[in-house]
Symmetry: C2
Subunit: 266 residues, 2 copies
DNA sequence: GCTGCTGGTCCATATTACGGACGGTGTGAC
DNA sequence: GTCACACCGTCCGTAATATGGACCAGCAGC
């Protein structure tokens, strides 16, 4: 019996199937916003039927949430997404709070600095500051979303969660990890190591010759929700320098955490 | 016969009723994101039933598109909106392109500079740069959305559209204009005046004692899609200075238009 | 404790969204 | 030229889904 794809997968009737599907589409489009997505790809990646996807995209296009390139027929996030984002931004001003710290780090190190933020089971790159060193390592685009633990800032966040939450996240993300050259056990080991060190370091598994250091930002209850990290080519990342960078990052994260404690949100 | 509120208002069956409604809700929440919105207000403002609104908000909350304050029960735009906005931003980089021009203007004039962008029948404030003059006139929040023609940058955009489009916009927005102290005929007259002058000027109808000048940005086909504007208290806005500011703005908009023509999108 | 106002939930109903099947368009092979 | 293929887009009968009237629950002010 090939499983009737009806009602609800877990048994509850939510009454919002189409909204859930539309948002699933939006996230899928966002995940490939650089190249854009074709109708068929969206259908297969989301597991929805072509006509359904098409009908929804037509609606989203009319509403300016999605933009279709007239020539290639590819779909991108639309202007309304950007505009709603502008309106939402003031409530999520971590970026502005961290901005001075990030420029300080970029100036001090010459390398590229990233601000990463937790979003459910994922982490999202929220900001990036280039350093002055001529060989740049842009491992992350702003807006990029990846499973928690992939990427060094992301690993720092994961390592700053409670024991059971770490387990929960890794288990939930298991099917997606292999895409990034990770397994649940290898990731669990890396979390352990980061917890021992007090910061996250690693060679990028996806990009040889680049090494990063990450330090988590914690909220008042002491659990991690974001991270600052620095990336550079491995030749600039001796053991000694890594330790120095970790200390520098720790200083800055402490400073930001203090600011957040004083009235600011999050 | 009290009109059965069913099917479709114009006769076409779109097949996406709930997505349209969900997005209507999102826009309504965005329009009041500073104070947040209560369930009943959203229901009455959108014309939807309370249970429908509630069900949708529950779904949107789970998906992080909407955030509900635990104490007040008020609804706000959620973190996912911000994150999707980050991903969409690179395609809509007018803001970055205009940034240098805006700081130049702010430094030269000492007053506050606004970047406004068209979005359908509305205009959205996309960026703001404060000047050094101690009395600030923050007439627009970033992300603020208003009918085209309300606000000086917005008026400059409207005045740069084709004759029939101006008419179409004003007619479509008629019911919303009174809220801002305007009528279709008064707005039409202001458009005429701005077209004659080559720029938009006016006292803020909603805020006495503040005067602004706006100059539109045009795409390659010569139609307006955005505007730069400057606001200050009226005492700093003599006829002579208004003309000077208009010339300054014209220089900068020309410059930005040239950049846009060279390869950059939009 | 009663009244008014709000947020939140239930569930029978019929409206809405689904998706199999088909038409249309553009491209590359020969 | 036309055949084949891959993809985008649309139609429409069907049943699953979203709807909204009715109801419950919490809270503030008389």
């Amino acid at each position: 019996m090939p499983k009737k794809a009806t009602s609800e997968e877990n048994g509850r009737l939510s009454g919002t199937q189409s909204i859930e599907r539309a948002l699933l589409l939006m996230r899928e489009i966002a995940a490939h916003n650089r190249t854009g997505s074709r109708l068929l790809d969206l259908a297969s990646r989301t597991g929805l039927q072509r006509p359904t996807v098409h009908r929804m995209l037509k609606c989203l296009t009319v509403q300016d949430m999605v933009l279709q390139d007239a020539d290639t027929h590819r779909y991108f996030l639309g202007p309304m997404v950007f505009e709603l984002g502008l309106t939402a931004a003031p409530r999520f001003n971590l970026r502005e709070i961290c901005h001075p710290a990030m420029t300080r780090i970029a100036e001090a190190t010459g390398d590229t600095v990233f601000l990463t933020q937790r979003s459910g089971l994922d982490s999202v790159c929220v900001d990036r500051q280039e350093g002055t060193f001529p060989i740049k390592t842009f491992t992350l685009e702003i807006g990029m979303r990846r499973p928690l633990g992939v990427g060094t800032g992301s690993l720092a966040i994961l390592s700053g969660l409670s024991e059971e939450e770490v387990k929960h996240v890794i288990v939930s993300n298991t099917p997606r990890l292999s895409e990034y050259g990770l397994t649940p056990t290898s990731l669990q080991a890396q979390v352990k190591r980061a917890q021992k060190l007090g910061y996250a370091v690693r060679e990028m598994p996806t990009l040889a010759g680049v090494r990063s250091v990450g330090q988590a930002l914690h909220n008042q209850s002491g659990i991690a929700f974001a991270a600052l990290s620095v990336s550079a080519i491995s030749s600039r990342m001796s053991e000694k320098r890594v330790a120095e960078l970790a200390a520098l990052l720790k200083n800055e994260t402490r400073f930001v955490e203090k600011q957040l404690a004083n009235g600011d949100r999050r």
